[in-house]
Each structure stands twice: as structure tokens, then as C-alpha cells.
Symmetry: C2
Subunit: 424 residues, 2 copies
């Protein structure tokens, strides 16, 4: 929490002392100010890097387009591992998908999705890699491609980036077909599967038949699947009457509808299944909104809900209740990710600030303390506690925390400590 | 159209000869393959540049984050000017908004939105710039800020980038307030206004009152406004009963609802108005989906609709009908933009390919010819026509067009011409 931020918070507080919701909205806005590009060089706005691995399985070099959340570069997060989204047709969707995840996972968006590493996998021979069976040409390399993803891409990403084992697989069209292939044949590999207008018509519905069988035979406990269906019908058709049609031209949508209805009806396999039909979207325009809806479908448990009321003067919530709410929330996230997730320092700091502005210093103190406990080596956590004590006019404790922050390399705190010493 | 593309098209054609919709979907997918990053250097994925201008009005240097569509760097598009989106809180929304526009404006998405230049305007003193009146601190610099946008940013962008005068203004929260300010006080400057959960509560609803008056007094012919309303209410409230509430905590949403209902009811001002309430979104999470919905609301006339049926064997559409359809579509786009928009070469090329695959060579020929007429200096247009004649087994005309393409600097055509000469 730097001086600029304090002065903004204080000035907003003065103006709107009785109006917590408006206040917290303006305060949330201030968070935007700190949003920097992932990297800047020569004034370029950089969102990722192109890495290359040599695949023994495919016997070729393959590019990987990689986006890493900016928070990964902050020292206090050096031990954090991020969920990973593996994205087929990687180059085509990389910019929009990384932008969406970045936005949805921001503190100002209340983290309705987790921060994630995005790994886009561009194609070399798309028809070879994204088809499960041989029909003609090079088609039918799907098994080798999924071997490559499972045994080469994933180990490389998890070995070379701050990547966790919580994996999401996203594909469109033949990429969606490949996602369904992975779901039914490699359901251990990913937690989440997103199949956008998948080409289930492929090879006389080969994979559709396999998938329908798997829905009744395999247990998908802990797995989620989202399917998007575009409007690829003639103008006089709709998703009700198209199922009666028998033409080749509608086999694409009929195949997806058939699968989606089967998956919806089959409740015994524990699959967390959702699907959506997009009347206003073609096969080509549907990915963007489908990805958005998928991310909202997959992570409903990731947003910290029910906090608004705590900031009101009427709230009778105790320190313990609020802290327990936060802890239970991150325990729940941890159970989804299947590894420990500690409340993020910057998010907790933002909430603590909001409690301070709402004249609930005891809750603010507990949250700043939580950060000190979870991030004891963080200059920022000590600096924030210093700011808290300044606001409480406890100069001695403020100086202590600024000193700790300086020892840990915090540059902001030096000026603050000098200011304190001058004033007293 | 390179050899790889031909071989893919041909192989897909062989496999799916009777199945046009599936075919055209696979073909659309192939377009993805050519999607490259905006720029690559040292394997970095770059989506824009940070430019800086000195503002005499604000007496400070200001950064501008600028995304330019990749097609602008192609020689055949050297005369094209792109619509521009001016984006407040620029850095926070730049990545996601440019990603969305890039995706929605792609040929594979059937250009449901136009390709646009995005100009993000990051803040220096947000409370100063994005508030229309002085309440305390530095607030109240809105007029100077909008002077800066109108008289410094826009002329700079239109003078230094391939930017047209078709302008869209997007802002969130206090940025949304600023967008409403621009709509009512500078409706000439922008064609489209997007106000996301705008802070109309500001200064005792100062701008809300001005805006409601303007709705009845000003003619907004040719102007569009989209307003998004987030759910900022307590759990026991909804947008119906909240209007009865009188607390400060709901003044934010009540102000936006009041404005939206007034704008909806007032039909005499010719404003093209749309609004949406997002029950599942907070003030902070709403921008992404609101931007998406706004872009779909603003440009319903930009997608080339009704083309699917032309590719079916049953279609009786003549060459003239199809060409007239394309021409009328771009005439309509031109009337919206208020300047001439020529059908984009690559998009027409993609459609022509699809007609060729659908065994409608006469329509394909007319579309390749359209490109030659509109882009007579384009190596690609000649190369594509060469490919067409190869497919028609007219070796002499194919060689002519490959030769033209080579003269215009087309590197792909050289190999093709040599191949022709070897075979004959």
C-alpha cells in the first residue's frame, strides 16, 4: 500500500463517508491503476513467449505459446504454482483467452476465475493431430498427439514453469473432438474439459459412439465438461426440429446435440456437465463466448462471495466470522485444486484496506496479520501493517513494521519511516 | 493461397465431397493456421505498443496503449483506415478488449465485429480526469480530460496510425460516467458509446440529471449507446424492488437503472440504445461480458449473413446475386462508417475458396475477379487467380497470373510457375 493509494483512499473516504458501496467501487477501481503489462520492452506490450520443445513422439519441434500471470514474478509468490489451461489451435485463441482469464482472475473482478498459465499449442499438421481415426491423407494421428500432450507437453510445462497439476483442456471444432477424445480415454489427465462445437461427426461419428458408451461406463468424479453448440443450421431449422433431419449438412450439430443430451441425461457417472446452444453464433464466431461461459461454469467456487455485507455499518460479523469465511473459502479452493492454496497476499491486502475504509479496523488488522503469517518474508505485508499502525496512530509499531519491511528489501517503506521519524 | 492450403482443401474435399457444411467448417478452421502474433521479437508475443504524447491541455505526458490489426501491415491494405476504439482505464482492459476484437473480427468468426485499432488511455490522476464536477481533492477535471481526448488524442491517433473517423468510446465506472458525459456534451465526436456500470451517482447525480434532460432535448441520430448494469445490491434485493430503496448503498445501481429506463422510454431522440443487467456480476467483474455484449450490440450489420445456403448443392443463386449480396453488404458497412469500405481481400479469398470447394467455380471466379479489381497491385490476388486456373486446368492463364504475381513480389508464385512449366 503506497502513499498514493493511501491518499486516494483517504480522499474517497472523506467524500463518501456514509456510502460504503460506492466507496468500495471507487476503491476497486483504484486497483486498476496498478495493472501493468506482463512485460515491457522498447514500449512493446508483451503477453507471452513462444517456447519450443522437441517431441520424440511426433518427431518434430513444436512451439508452445505461454502466458504466465504477472503475479508469478512477485517475490512473495515464488512458491506458488498456477493451474494451467492447455489450448488447442493455440495461436488463434491465445490472445483472447489469456486476456479473458487475466481479466476474470483480477482482484477487481473478485477472481471469478483463477489466475492460470495458458499454454497454446499451435498446429503443424492439424488434420493429422486433431483426428482420432484415419480417413484419408495424414488424418488419424490423434492418439500420438494426445500422447505428446500428456507425456511431453505437460511434464515440460510443469517442470519449467510455475505450473500446478490442476489442468484444463480447451479445443474448438476438431480441437473439441480431441478434447472429447481425452475425456473418454484420458480422464485422469485433466480436471476440466471444454469442447467448443466439437466435430463429433468425424468418421461416421466414430468418437460420438465411443463417448456415449463411456458416459455410461466410466466414472468421471471430480471432472467437469462444458460443451458449446453453434448454430450451423439452415434458417428454417432450430435445435428441436433439426434432430428429425437426416441430411449430411446437419450431421455436425445433430452429433453434438445427441452427445449433449446423453451427457445431460446420464447422472450416474458423476460428470459435472454443462452445455449451451448459441443461436446467434456460427461455428467460427462461437469460441469467444463459449470460452467465457465455460470459465464461469467451471469455477463458480472461486469467487469470494458474500463479502459485500461485511463492509456495511449494519454488519455484526465478528473478526472470527470474517477470517473463518476467508479460510473456509481457500480450503474449498484447495480441495478443488487438490493442493494447498494460501489466500493471495494482494487480494487479502485489498480486502483489509476495504475494512479499514469501512471503519472496521479490528477486521482489517486480522487480515493484515493473516498476510504477515502467510507471507512472513514479504516486505509488502510488513509495509501494509506499518500503514495500518500509522492509521491507528501507533507510531512505535508502525516504525517496527516499516523497519522489517526495509530489512526485507521494501523500498517504499524507507520514505515512510523517515517521514515518521521527522514528525516525531 | 499456398500449396499447403490447396492440398488441405483438396484432401478435405475428397473426404467429404457430399457434406458442404462440415467441409466449410473444416475449411474455416484452416484459416486459424495463418493467425500469427501481431509481432514477434525474441519469441515474445507482442500485442501492442506504448506511445506517448505531450498534452498541452493537461500539461503532462500521457501514455497511449495501441493495438493495430495485423492486416494493416499487409501491403494490399496500405490504404485502409480502421475504426478506432478509445478505451478508458486503458491498461486494465487493453489485453482482454484487444483480444476480443481481434477474435470477433477474424475471418473465421465471420467478422461479427470490425477490425479496429484499440487506443487504451491509462490514468495519471483518475479522480481528476474521470469526474465531471469538483467535489474534493483533484476531482472535477472531466471537461479538460475530454478536451484532451477530443483535441489531442484523436488528432494524434488519426494522424499517426491508419485510423478512421469512426470512433467508439468505452469506459467503466467513473470511466462510464465520462462516456455518458461525452455522449451528452460531445455527441459529434464518437459514433458509439459504451458505459459499463457508470458512476451516475457522482456528485448528487449531477450528470444523471443532465443526461436525462439531454435524452429529451438532443437528437442522437446515427449514435449508439450501450449501458451495462452490474449487481451491486444486497442479496435480498433485485432490480425491481431496489428502485423503492432510498439508502446510499443502492444509489449507484438506482442511478443507472433510472437512466437506462429513461433512455429506453424516450424514442424521439433517435438514439440507438441498448442495456443489459448482469445478475451474476459485481461492479468489478462485469466489464468483460459487458464489452462482449456491447460489441455484438453495436455491429449487427457487420457480419456477412445468409451465405451458408449458397454453398449447398441445392442453391440456385446466380453469380450476379452472390456478387450483389457482397457489394450491398459493403455498401451498408460504408454507410455506417461514412466512408468507402472495399471488401477485404483475404475474406473474399476465403469465400471464393469455399465456392470452389462447393463446386461452384463460376461464383469463385467472380469473387477472385473482385479481388483483382479491388487489389490490382496485390500479388496474393493474382496468385489466387493462378491457383483457380490450375484447378480449372487452364495452364496458360494460370501461368499468366503467377507471372503477374511474381512481378508484384509474390514469392509463393515462383515455385508454382516452375512446377507448371515442368509438368507441361
Amino acid at each position: 500500500m503506497n502513499i498514493l493509494k493511501i491518499s486516494l483512499v483517504v480522499s474517497v473516504l472523506t467524500a463518501l463517508a456514509s456510502c460504503q458501496v460506492e466507496e468500495s467501487q471507487v476503491a476497486e477501481d483504484q486497483v486498476e491503476q496498478s495493472t501493468a503489462p506482463i512485460a515491457e520492452s522498447d514500449n512493446q506490450i508483451v503477453i507471452g513467449v513462444i517456447d519450443t520443445i522437441n517431441s520424440a513422439i511426433l518427431d518434430e519441434d513444436r512451439d508452445l505459446w505461454i502466458y504466465v500471470p504477472k503475479s508469478a514474478s512477485e517475490p512473495e509468490n515464488s512458491n506458488i504454482k498456477y493451474p494451467v489451461m492447455y489450448l488447442l489451435d493455440g495461436n488463434a485463441h491465445f490472445h483472447s483467452v489469456s486476456g479473458m482469464i487475466r481479466r476474470l482472475s483480477s482482484a477487481s473482478s473478485r477472481k471469478v476465475a483463477p489466475e492460470m498459465i495458458i499454454v497454446g499449442i499451435p498446429n503443424t499438421d492439424r488434420m493429422r493431430d486433431l483426428t482420432p481415426t484415419h480417413v484419408e491423407g495424414t488424418t488419424g494421428g490423434g492418439r500420438e498427439f494426445l500422447d505428446f500432450v500428456e507425456n511431453e507437453v505437460i511434464p515440460y510445462v510443469e517442470g519449467n514453469y510455475p505450473a500446478s497439476t490442476y489442468r484444463t483442456f480447451v479445443g474448438h471444432s476438431l480441437g473439441g473432438l480431441t478434447v472429447i477424445d481425452a475425456l473418454i480415454n484420458r480422464s485422469d489427465v485433466f480436471s476440466n474439459y471444454v469442447a467448443i462445437d466439437p466435430s463429433l461427426w468425424w468418421d461416421d461419428q466414430f468418437l460420438l459412439r465411443k463417448a456415449e458408451a463411456a458416459l455410461t461406463e466410466v466414472n468421471f468424479s471430480g471432472k467437469s465438461l462444458f460443451v458449446a453448440v453453434a448454430n450451423t443450421m439452415r434458417g428454417d431449422m432450430n435445435i428441436n426440429n433439426v434432430v428429425e433431419d437426416t441430411s449430411d449438412a446437419t450431421r455436425h450439430i445433430r452429433s453434438i446435440l445427441q452427445f449433449s443430451k446423453s451427457a445431460d441425461a446420464e447422472k450416474g457417472n458423476d460428470l459435472n456437465f454443462g452445455w449451451e446452444y448459441y443461436d446467434n453464433d456460427s461455428h467460427g464466431s462461437v469460441p469467444l463466448i463459449a470460452e467465457y461461459d465455460a470459465f464461469r461454469f467451471l469455477f463458480p467456487w472461486h469467487e469470494l462471495k458474500g463479502f459485500n455485507d461485511y463492509f456495511t455499518p449494519e454488519s455484526t460479523a465478528t473478526v472470527t466470522e470474517v477470517i473463518d469465511h476467508v479460510l473456509a473459502h481457500y480450503q474449498n479452493i484447495s480441495s478443488h485444486f487438490e493442493y494447498l492454496v494460501v489466500p493471495p497476499e494482494q487480494y487479502v491486502d485489498m480486502l483489509a484496506d476495504a475494512f479499514l475504509r469501512s471503519e472496521k479496523p479490528d477486521i482489517a488488522f486480522a487480515m493484515f496479520s493473516m498476510n504477515l503469517q502467510n507471507y512472513s518474508d514479504s516486505a509488502g505485508a510488513h509495509d501494509a501493517m506499518g500503514d495500518f499502525y500509522v492509521a491507528q496512530e501507533d507510531i512505535i509499531k508502525a516504525a517496527e513494521h516499516f523497519t522489517n519491511a526495509i530489512d526485507l528489501g521494501g523500498t517504499d517503506s524507507k520514505e515512510k519511516l523517515e517521514e515518521l521519524q521527522e514528525q516525531n
